[in-house]
C-alpha cells in the first residue's frame, strides 16, 4: 500500500462531528486520494459534501476523526511548511500592506528580513502585483486581492498548493484571467510547486485546470468517482471534447440526487432539511413547466435557464422531490401530478397544496402541527422543538432546520411564529399580536 512517490496520501479519512444528543454527523467517510508530483487535482462536489473540510484536513488545519493524511510519507497532524493554502475569502490581514501580507509566512519560518523582502518582492513581481507593494488590501480590487492571496501562498515555495474555491468570490472575467495566469506559471514551471489540489463546485473551472477530477458525494461525503482529464492546455471550453466532458461530469454528479431520493422515503423528524425558500421552489417549478412545454427538462438546461450553479440547484431539487412536486431520472427532471397542480394554482390554492404535502411528506411539520393541536393553548415555545431536534442534530444545525420548517409552515399557514417571544402557535398569522 505504501506509495513512496506520492506527495499526498489520504487514507481512509473520516470526519464526524458530535451532535448535541446521541447522534453524530458524518461529514466525510472513507476518503482515499493519492496525489502524485506534477498533477493538478480538483475535488468537485455539492456544498455541504465536506470538500472544504477535506482540504482543511489535508492542510493540517483540522484533524480527521479516522484515517490519516501523509505528506511525503510523514503523517500530517498540523500545518506543514511545504503545504500552503489560498482561501475563498482571500483571508488577507487588512492592517498589513501587500508586502507585509506576503512576508507573513516567511516571517513565521524565521527567514531573515533582507531575504524576506527579496523573496516577497520577486513573488509580487511574478504574480503581477509589482508597484502595489505598499497598498493595503482595501485599496485593491477583488482580483488583485486574490493575487496577494496567491503571492502569500507561493512565497514559501510550497510543494503542495491547496486552493479552497479560490476563484469563486471573483467575477467571471477576473477569475478567468487569474486562473490563466496561475496556469501559465504552473505550465512554464516558474513556481516550484509540485502539485495543486483545488476544491470547487464549478465543473468548467475544474475541467479547465485539472489533470484529474475527484467527485464527492454528499451526506456523508464519499469519493464517488475519479475522472482523468487528458485534454491538452490551453483548453477550449467551446471545444466538443470539453462540452462532452462537462456533460459526463454533470451526469455523474446528478446521479447523487437519485441516490438521495432512495433515502428520502424514510426521513425522520431529524432530517436535515436544506435551506431553501418557498420562493426558490416556486421559481424552479415555474421554470420546469416552461421548459417542459417545449419538451423534457434536463438539469443542466434548467440550471442555465435559472442562472444557477449546480451547487445552488441541487438542494432545491432535493426538496421538490421530497415534497413530491418533481421527479428526477438520470439528468431529466419532470413535474409530478402535484407539482403541475401547484404550478397551475393561484396563490391561495398553492398554499393549500404546499401545506398538504408538507404534512404528508415532512415528519417535522406534521409533528409540530400535532403538538400544537394537542395543547389547549395551541401554543408551544420553539425551545421545545429545538430540544427534540438536538437529539439528532447539533445546536446550530437544529436551529437552522427549525428556521427552515418555520419558513415553510408560515407560507402554508400551518402555524404562526412570534419572533420576539419565540412561540409557535396555530393562531391565524394575521392576528399575530404586534409587540
Amino acid at each position: 500500500m505504501q506509495n513512496t512517490d506520492a506527495l499526498i496520501e489520504v487514507r481512509a479519512v473520516a470526519k464526524t462531528f458530535a451532535a448535541e444528543g446521541k447522534g453524530t454527523l458524518t461529514v466525510l467517510e472513507d476518503i482515499n486520494i493519492v496525489i502524485q508530483p506534477g498533477e493538478i487535482v480538483a475535488v468537485l462536489g455539492k456544498s455541504g459534501c465536506g470538500k472544504s473540510t477535506l482540504l482543511r484536513i489535508i492542510g493540517g488545519l483540522t484533524q480527521a476523526t479516522q484515517g490519516e493524511v501523509r505528506y511525503r510519507g510523514q503523517r500530517v497532524s498540523r500545518p506543514q511548511p511545504g503545504i500552503s493554502m489560498v482561501f475563498q475569502s482571500f483571508a488577507l490581514f487588512p492592517w498589513l500592506n501587500v508586502q507585509q501580507n506576503v512576508e507573513l509566512g516567511l516571517e513565521a519560518q524565521g527567514v531573515a528580513p533582507a531575504e524576506r523582502q527579496r523573496r516577497a518582492s520577486d513573488v509580487i513581481e511574478m504574480i503581477g502585483l509589482g508597484g502595489f507593494e505598499s497598498a493595503y488590501p482595501k485599496e485593491l480590487s477583488g482580483g488583485m486581492r486574490q493575487r496577494v492571496g496567491f503571492a502569500r501562498a507561493l512565497v514559501v515555495n510550497p510543494d503542495v498548493l491547496l486552493m479552497d474555491e479560490a476563484f469563486s468570490a471573483l467575477d467571471v472575467p477576473t477569475s478567468e484571467t487569474l486562473r490563466g495566469d496561475l496556469l501559465d506559471l504552473w505550465l512554464e514551471r516558474q513556481i516550484s510547486t509540485q502539485a495543486i489540489l483545488m476544491v470547487s463546485h464549478n465543473i468548467e473551472e475544474a475541467l479547465l485546470m485539472a489533470d484529474r477530477i475527484v467527485l464527492l458525494d454528499a451526506n456523508p461525503g464519499r469519493v464517488k468517482a475519479e475522472l482523468p482529464v487528458t485534454m491538452k492546455h490551453p483548453r477550449d471550453r467551446d471545444a466538443l471534447v470539453f462540452r462532452q466532458m462537462v456533460e459526463r461530469v454533470y451526469t455523474a454528479m446528478t446521479t447523487a440526487v437519485v441516490g438521495a431520493v432512495a433515502k428520502l422515503d424514510a426521513i425522520g423528524i431529524g432530517h436535515r432539511l436544506p435551506s431553501v425558500f418557498v420562493a426558490q421552489m416556486e421559481g424552479v417549478l415555474d421554470q420546469i413547466e416552461q421548459i417542459e412545454e417545449a419538451g423534457s427538462a434536463e438539469l443542466p438546461e434548467l440550471a442555465e435557464a435559472l442562472h444557477f450553479e449546480i451547487d445552488d440547484l441541487f438542494p432545491i431539487v432535493d426538496v421538490l422531490e421530497l415534497l413530491d412536486f418533481a421527479h428526477v431520472t438520470g439528468r431529466a427532471i419532470t413535474l409530478t401530478r402535484h407539482g403541475r397542480a401547484f404550478v397551475e394554482a393561484d396563490i391561495l390554492r398553492r398554499k393549500e397544496i404546499f401545506g398538504e404535502h408538507l404534512l404528508k411528506r415532512v415528519p417535522l411539520a406534521a409533528h409540530i402541527r400535532r403538538v400544537l393541536d394537542e395543547r389547549p393553548s395551541q401554543r408551544a415555545p420553539e425551545q421545545r422543538f429545538l430540544r427534540e431536534l438536538e437529539d439528532y442534530l447539533n445546536e446550530e444545525e437544529a436551529e437552522r432546520v427549525l428556521s427552515v420548517i418555520i419558513d415553510w409552515g408560515r407560507y402554508a399557514e400551518l402555524f404562526a411564529y412570534d419572533y420576539n417571544a419565540g412561540i409557535l402557535s396555530t393562531e391565524d398569522p394575521g392576528e399575530e399580536v404586534e409587540s
Binding site: S84, M85, Q88, F90, P94, L96, A108
Partner: protein, 580 residues
C-alpha cells in the same frame, strides 16, 4: 504598528531633514525629558504623616499638571498590560473564561473610590519611606477606573476574529507571539483605542479624586491638580479654582490633539473592512508625524525590537483560538464544568462568610439594614437623574444626530465635555447651595450626573447619525411625521446606542456618589443622605469594616441594577432593534 522596510528608512535618512522634522524632533526630545524628570520626582523619600507642601501659586500649575498627566499615563500603561494578559487568558482558555469574565463584570461595578483608603495603606507599607507608596495607590485607583472596559473590549474582539484569518494564521504557522501582534492586537485595535480613550476621559475624574486622599483623618496630598483643588477648597480660594479649571482645560485640549485624535485616526487602518471608508477621521498631529522624515528612523527601533522578539519567542507554542475544541468528550467536559462550578460556589460561600464575619464583628445587623436603605436612596437618585438626563439629551441628541454636518462638529465637543473632570466644578455648586440655603438632598444630586450625562448625549448622537438614509427617505415618503416617526423610526433606531450610553452613565453616577454626597467648602460640609456619603464618612474615619460594608452593598445594588435593567434592555436592543 507600522514597520518600515529598511530600504525606506535609508531613503528617508539620505533625504535629510525636512520642515516637519524641525517641529517634531525637539517636541519628542522635550517630551522624553519631561517624563524622566516627572518620574524622578515620584521616587522622592516620604514618611506617613509628612505634609507635602502644595502651593496655590498658579506658577506651580504646569508642574502639577505634568505630575497628574504622568500618573494617568502610567495607569494607562498598566491597564494595557493587564488587558493583554487577562483578556487573552479568558479568550483562550474556556475554563478560565468561566471565572474571569463574570469576575470582570463585578469588578466593573465596584465603586473604586471607596477602595482608595484600603489600598493606600497597603501601598505605603509596600514602599516604606518613599513617595512611591501613595503614588502607587493613586495610580492603582486610576488603573481600576480604566482597565475593565478595555479588557472587555479586547476580549470581545478576540472572540470576533474572523475564522478565515485564524485559519490563514494557522496555515502559515504563525507563532503565538506573531499571532498576537499581527492578528489579535491589530484586529482589536479600533475597539481598544476607543475604549482606552473613554477610560482616559473617565480617568481625569479619578485622578483628581485620588490625589488628595484622606485616610484615618490623615490627609495625603500628592503634587497634582487634584491636590491643588483640595487645597483651594480648604482655603476657600475661588480664584485658585478658576486657575485649576483653566489648567485642566488646557491639559485636556492638548491630550485631545496630541494623543486622542492621532490615535483614532491611526487606528482607522485596523478597521476590519475591505472597502475604503469615505469619511476618515483626520488628525493634524498624525499627518505631521507621518510626514516627518526622521520618524521612520525612530520607527526602525521598534522594527529592530520586533525582529529580535521574533527570534526570542519563535519557539513559543501557539495556542490558536481555533484549536479551542477540547479533546475530551462532551459528557466528561460537563462533569468537569460542574466540578469547577461547585468549587467556585464553595469558594464564594467561604468568601461571603469571611466578609460577613469581618463586617458583623464591628457592625450591628440593624446598621446593615440602614446601609441597605441608604443604598436604595442613592439608587433612586441615580434612576431619577438618568431619567431626567434621558428626557433632556435624547431629543437634543437626535436633533443633532439627524444633521450630519452639525453632528460631526458637535461630537468632539461632547467627548471633550465628558473628559472634563466634573469634580472641579463641585466647589462652585457648593458655594451656590450654601449661599442660597438650597435643599442639600435635592441640589447635591445633579453633581452625580454632571460628568456622566455626556455619555448619553454622545451615544444618542452616534445612533441618530447612523440611521440609514434610505429608512429616513422611506419614512418621509410614507408621510410619517411627529410622534409616528419617533415611535416607528427614531426611537427604535437610537435605542441600542442609548442603552450603551445609559449603562455607562448609570455606572459613573454610582461611582460619583462617593464624592458628590459629601462636599466641602472651607469648613462648610454639605452632606446628603445616601450610601456614597456613608462610604465617604467611613473612609475619613478609617473604619475598615464599615467601608467594606458600604462597598459590598453598593456593588450589590450596581450589579442588581445592571442585571435587571440594563442587560435586559441591551439584549432586547441587540435581538430586535439592531440595524443590519
Amino acid at each position: 504598528m507600522r514597520f518600515q522596510p529598511p530600504g525606506q528608512i535609508a531613503r528617508a535618512l539620505l533625504g535629510g531633514p525636512n520642515l516637519w522634522d524641525l517641529v517634531v524632533f525637539p517636541l519628542v526630545l522635550a517630551a522624553l525629558f519631561l517624563v524622566a524628570w516627572g518620574s524622578h520626582q515620584m521616587t522622592a523619600p516620604y514618611q506617613l504623616g509628612e505634609v507635602i507642601p502644595i502651593s496655590l501659586d498658579p506658577a506651580n500649575l504646569p508642574h502639577y499638571a505634568l505630575r497628574t498627566t504622568l500618573r494617568m499615563a502610567l495607569a494607562m500603561g498598566l491597564s494595557l498590560v493587564f488587558t493583554f494578559i487577562y483578556a487573552s487568558l479568558a479568550a483562550k482558555y474556556r475554563r478560565a473564561e468561566m471565572i474571569m469574565i463574570p469576575a470582570l463584570d463585578i469588578l466593573q461595578s465596584v465603586p473604586i473610590l471607596g477602595f482608595l483608603s484600603l489600598t493606600v495603606m497597603g501601598f505605603i507599607q509596600l514602599f516604606p519611606g518613599s513617595m512611591l507608596g501613595p503614588e502607587a495607590a493613586a495610580i492603582f485607583a486610576i488603573f481600576t477606573s480604566q482597565a475593565w472596559n478595555m479588557t472587555f473590549s479586547f476580549y470581545h474582539s478576540l472572540r470576533m476574529i474572523p475564522n478565515d484569518l485564524r485559519l490563514a494564521a494557522d496555515a502559515f504557522q504563525l507563532s503565538a507571539w506573531q499571532r498576537f501582534w499581527k492578528l489579535e492586537v491589530p484586529f482589536a485595535m479600533p475597539g481598544l483605542v476607543w475604549n482606552a480613550m473613554m477610560s482616559m476621559s473617565g480617568g481625569w475624574f479619578f485622578v483628581v479624586a485620588s490625589e488628595a486622599i484622606t485616610v484615618s483623618n490623615q490627609t495625603i496630598l500628592l503634587p497634582g491638580i487634584g491636590s491643588y483643588i483640595a487645597l483651594a477648597i480648604q482655603q476657600k480660594d475661588l480664584t485658585a479654582i478658576g486657575y485649576a479649571i483653566l489648567t485642566m482645560l488646557v491639559v485636556i485640549v492638548l491630550y485631545d490633539q496630541l494623543i486622542f485624535r492621532p490615535l483614532v485616526a491611526w487606528s482607522e487602518k485596523f478597521k476590519f473592512e475591505l472597502t475604503g471608508a469615505q469619511d476618515v477621521p483626520k488628525s493634524f498631529v498624525l499627518s505631521l508625524v507621518q510626514r516627518a522624515r526622521w520618524l521612520p528612523w525612530l520607527l526602525s527601533l521598534p522594527a529592530a525590537a520586533w525582529e529580535f522578539s521574533l527570534r526570542l519567542f519563535r519557539r513559543l507554542p501557539a495556542v490558536p483560538l481555533s484549536a479551542l475544541a477540547v479533546r475530551v468528550t462532551r459528557r466528561k467536559r460537563r462533569l468537569i464544568d460542574r466540578l469547577t462550578l461547585i468549587a467556585m460556589g464553595v469558594a464564594a460561600i467561604f468568601a461571603a462568610l469571611t466578609l460577613a464575619r469581618f463586617v458583623l464583628g464591628a457592625v450591628a445587623l440593624s446598621e446593615v439594614g440602614h446601609v441597605m436603605l441608604l443604598g436604595l436612596i442613592t439608587g433612586l437618585r441615580v434612576l431619577v437623574l438618568i431619567g431626567l438626563a434621558t428626557l433632556v439629551w435624547v431629543p437634543v441628541g437626535v436633533w443633532i444626530g439627524m444633521r450630519p454636518v452639525l453632528a460631526a462638529r458637535v461630537q468632539p465637543i461632547v467627548l471633550f465635555l465628558s473628559a472634563f473632570p466634573a469634580n472641579l466644578l463641585f466647589p462652585l455648586a457648593v458655594v451656590i447651595i450654601a449661599r442660597h440655603h438650597l435643599n442639600v438632598e435635592i441640589w447635591l444630586s445633579p453633581l452625580m450626573i454632571l460628568g456622566t450625562q455626556w455619555y448619553i448625549l454622545f451615544n444618542v448622537i452616534v445612533g441618530a447619525a447612523s440611521i440609514p438614509t434610505d429608512l429616513k427617505e422611506a419614512a418621509a415618503n410614507l408621510g410619517m411625521r411627529k410622534w409616528l416617526l419617533w415611535r416607528r423610526l427614531i426611537l427604535p433606531a437610537v435605542f441600542p446606542a442609548y442603552v450603551t450610553g445609559g449603562l455607562t452613565a448609570s455606572g459613573g453616577a454610582w461611582n460619583a456618589s462617593v464624592v458628590t454626597e459629601v462636599v466641602n467648602w472651607g469648613t462648610t460640609t454639605l452632606t446628603a443622605t445616601g450610601i456614597g456619603a456613608y462610604i465617604a464618612q467611613q473612609t475619613t474615619a478609617g473604619d475598615h469594616p464599615r467601608i467594606a460594608l458600604g462597598i459590598a452593598v453598593m456593588s450589590l445594588y450596581v450589579v442588581v441594577l445592571n442585571r435587571t435593567l440594563w442587560t435586559r434592555l441591551y439584549r432586547y436592543a441587540q435581538a430586535h432593534l439592531a440595524l443590519e
